[in-house]
């Protein structure tokens, strides 16, 4: 199952700092919201790269959690919920890592952006979002701090 199905806008916003709703709780504000930049690329190339990397990263699945046996129904339910939460977080982290690797291999540099900028950049349908992200990727002088890939 893909995290980003067609038109799954709400889900698309999950990983959407394109890096990192996942790491939001772990890192400083500078790391929370990022975008990719490659001013020398063509618009068509950036759009294709964003699509391809999103597709490849969306299929990433977390490792299967271990089976925990308990005769207590409430404990079993709690374990299931906990495992579900953990799996969701793992999936977001893995998506983030895979997307960053893909864009990095394709020659993009990662930059930070503010929460307000991210809200605008990562809103609406994927079709709209990719256009805005492409605008940012092609900007001759990317605003924000350069990040590690």
């Amino acid at each position: 199952m893909k995290i980003w199905g067609s038109g799954a806008i709400a889900l698309a916003m999950l990983p959407l700092s394109f890096s990192t709703a996942a790491s939001a709780q772990d890192n400083s504000d500078d790391d929370k919201y990022t975008f990719f930049s490659q001013p020398t690329a063509t618009r068509q190339q950036v759009l294709a790269d964003l699509d391809e990397c999103r597709d490849l990263a969306s299929t990433v699945r977390p490792p299967q959690p271990g089976y925990v046996y308990t005769p207590n129904v409430a404990a079993a339910a709690a374990t299931g919920v906990l495992q579900g939460l953990m799996k969701g977080a793992q999936r977001r982290h893995m998506f983030d890592a895979a997307l960053r690797k893909c864009m990095s291999v394709k020659g993009y540099t990662r930059y930070s952006m503010s929460k307000e900028e991210a809200k605008i950049a990562y809103s609406g349908s994927w079709k709209d979002m990719r256009e805005r992200l492409t605008d940012r990727a092609l900007a001759p002088t990317p605003a924000g701090t350069r990040m590690e890939p």
Binding site: S23, A57, V60, R61, H93, A97, A98, K101, K106, E148
Partner: protein, 221 residues
């Protein structure tokens, strides 16, 4: 009874057509089968890697029968995804295990390791009937500086990725065959040729793994 016979036939058919990982070198090669010889380096002391190869459509740039190459499946009796290792090896020395696998002749790509798909760049090669295709030595390990191999030890991911082990992709170094690479006993007389690798620019992440691109061929610095 009929159902039992059918089930037995299906089982036999699968056994007859699935890739066969060999435990000992054969005395002679079958002219209709092809063979892959590959040496896989230890992942960590006492921990062994697996390697997945799959039939590749070079024109459509995907695994046959999947994604962009969905309309080009392999024949029903041919091998699809082949997982090599960690057991049933024909030789082991200096932290490297050598595997010999009988497979359907064809065109293959190195798809991935235990956790990572090399969908962002890997290597494709032909496997001809009646001979052994020698893939050389392949090292796989996480990009967090813990690999025992020099080719991989220097590689790191960013700190936030290394913090969570399950987000660290594997790196892969492919060293094409050279005469310093050993051969298990009894294999010297068998027809064998080095794999002629060509870049495989991309394919789909059909097993839902992390992503990476293989290191340049022979990169063992």
């Amino acid at each position: 009874m009929k159902a039992f016979c059918f089930a037995a036939l299906v089982l036999l058919a699968n056994v007859a057509t699935a890739a066969t990982v060999m435990k000992v070198a054969p005395s002679a090669l079958s002219p209709t089968s092809s063979y892959i010889l590959v040496r896989l380096g230890e992942r960590a002391p006492g921990v062994w890697n697996t390697l997945t190869i799959a039939p590749y459509d070079a024109a459509l740039e995907d695994i046959r029968g999947k994604g962009r190459a969905k309309n080009n499946p392999v024949a029903k009796e041919a091998d699809r995804s082949i997982v090599i290792g960690p057991k049933s090896f024909v030789g082991e020395s200096e932290h490297v295990r050598t595997y010999l696998v009988a497979v359907t002749p064809g065109h293959y790509v190195i798809q991935g390791g235990p956790t990572t798909c090399f969908c962002l760049g890997s290597y494709q090669f032909d496997v001809a009937a009646g001979r052994i295709t020698d893939m050389g030595t392949i090292y796989l390990g996480p990009e967090n500086g813990t690999s025992p191999w020099a080719a991989l030890k220097r590689l790191h991911s960013t700190a936030d990725i290394e913090e969570r082990g399950y987000t660290v992709a594997e790196a892969m170094a492919v060293l094409p065959w050279r005469d310093t690479m050993g051969l298990p006993a009894g294999m010297a007389g068998l027809a064998r040729e080095p794999a002629r690798y060509a870049a495989a620019t991309r394919f789909g992440n059909h097993d839902g793994q992390l992503l990476n691109r293989a290191l340049p061929l022979g990169d063992a610095r």
